[in-house]
Amino acid sequence: METKNKLLEVKDLSIHYFTDEGVVRAVNNIDFELARGETMGLVGETGAGKTTTARGIMGLVPNPPGRVVSGEILFEGKDLLNASKLQMRLHRGKDFSMIFQDPMTSLNPILTVGDQIAEVIRLHEKLSHKDANRKAAEILEMVGIPAERMSEYPHQFSGGMKQRVVIAIALACSPKLIIADEPTTALDVTIQAQVLELMRDLQEKLGTAMLLITHDLGVVADTCNKVAIMYAGQIVEMGSLENVYDNTKHPYTKGLFGSLPSLSIKSKRLVPIDGLMPDPVDLPSGCPFHPRCPDCMESCKSRMPVKTEVSPGHYVRCLRCE
């Protein structure tokens, strides 16, 4: 990949939460990169550190207790971690924006949806009140909501409609990158498909890159070019869709596919992964997945695997692949 095309580069990023109960190691030494217009899926169970990664990029890790302890986040070659508060504020909403998990709670209940969309436009574009409102109306139409509904309040919209409004806010200033944190988890299945389709269309139209956080491998297969699998704050496997889906290497990824019901492959029963996600305050020694790993070796218990490129662009963190 050419440097010029690189939009986002995350290098060796670690984010920890310092709480009374101990240090929660939410994100540990992750690396990934995203080109312009590309879509990457970030997959993992609840508590794997996906949302923290997203907040880290946005500069919205709640501090205290959270802190970025190491790493670089390069956006168009500039390190966001060294950016001033003002610079970050100018980036947010304009160059990258975020769609939060639950549309029910991500809109301010006491402001009209029009005001909430116009707010981000007025922050980043020098437009009059009137022009900003006009632009907000256009964007609302773009996500499939009639412009007349501008002056309505969030409680007058359904969940799917609210998520469209949230998407409208995120896309209002045509950002280069959108981070979508489980944008469809809180929605009904039929609405999920609509919202995903809408996001994909708009992304193509605007040429926006997207980091799609989800725990749904099906959604990733439909939407993404690349995928990274997270476990206990680490990326355990990463590569193109083909790499990861057809040439699965890491036992955890295999486990994720095994616990997925499938219509095409006839299996007698689902194969769940044994055990639970480890406590991020007290991660196991060696490979964090070893207590649950079906292929665990003696060395897994003591040595942390390093990132290994098994084929071009396909990275795995597993001792069996080193």
């Binding site: 504020r89 991500s106 301010n108 209940p109 922050l123």
Partner: protein
Amino acid sequence: MLRYIAKRIFLMIPVLLGISFVIFLLMYFTPGDPAQMILGDLATKEEVEALREEMGLNDSFFERYFRYMGDLLKGDLGTSYTTKLPVWDEISARLPVTAKVAFFVIVFAVLIGVPIGILSAVRQYTIIDSITRVMALLGITMPSFWFALLLVLLFSVKLGWLPASGLYGPAYYVLPIISISAASVAIITRTARSSMLEVIRQDYIDTARAKGQKERVVLFKHALLNALIPILTVVGIQFAGSLGGAVVNEQVFAIPGIGKLMVDAIKARNYPLVTGSVLVLSLLQSLVNLFIDLLYAFVDPRIRSQYSRSKKKTKALNGAVTAGAGTAAGKGE
């Protein structure tokens, strides 16, 4: 909206009728003979009996109650036993004093309590937060009349800076307002803090930050307006509290307000004056509650839009608001 206000005022009538009934009942069962009190110990039995008949004291409870209510509709609250003046004249001379004090108290409490509560929430776990929480706890636990005595001791007796009794100028208001408002300041601070803490954890606050909005605007536009709703509830409750506080502390500062009037009237068994005072104080509180409810609608579009919808929904919502007020009150105190 106008229709809603009219409806709310209409709904106040049965509550006020109920209050008048309860108070009248209490006064009916109060021992002692008003006629005897008026005439003094030297009066003969016949004189007392004649006066009882004249005052209608020998009629049945309901006769007396309905007569009282009939007079009330004509704006007549009866006649004070001791001064022989109309009760309304006595009350209307004192009411502005108490209302003024209670008003200043609540304004002071909001001006101090809300900003400190917000600051404490925004700076959670810092020294400022800890100090605020300790002060708030002290404010809630300290009896207001005792605080008043301590203030008088320090600022009037020891330092001689401020007057301790009467109400003859701005300086006279300082100690009463501080002492009465201590509890309200504390409770409003606590509510503002907890409500703000609740709100700044909400996703829409992060949405606002993700837009690139300035932290100041995030806090004051997005968070504060939402946090205001529980704060309003508590301000309403605290107004009632400040009326009560005024009633007690008027004794300490010898303020010629309705509280002192009422306590003196009770000691003198001057029932018409007691009944009138309680009614007027309750009416004042009901009006404030109504005002607060209307303010909700102003702040919260969810409530506003319910007003314009069907009757049934308004009813359901009223229930929700009362329940919300209940929990908020529980939290605040």
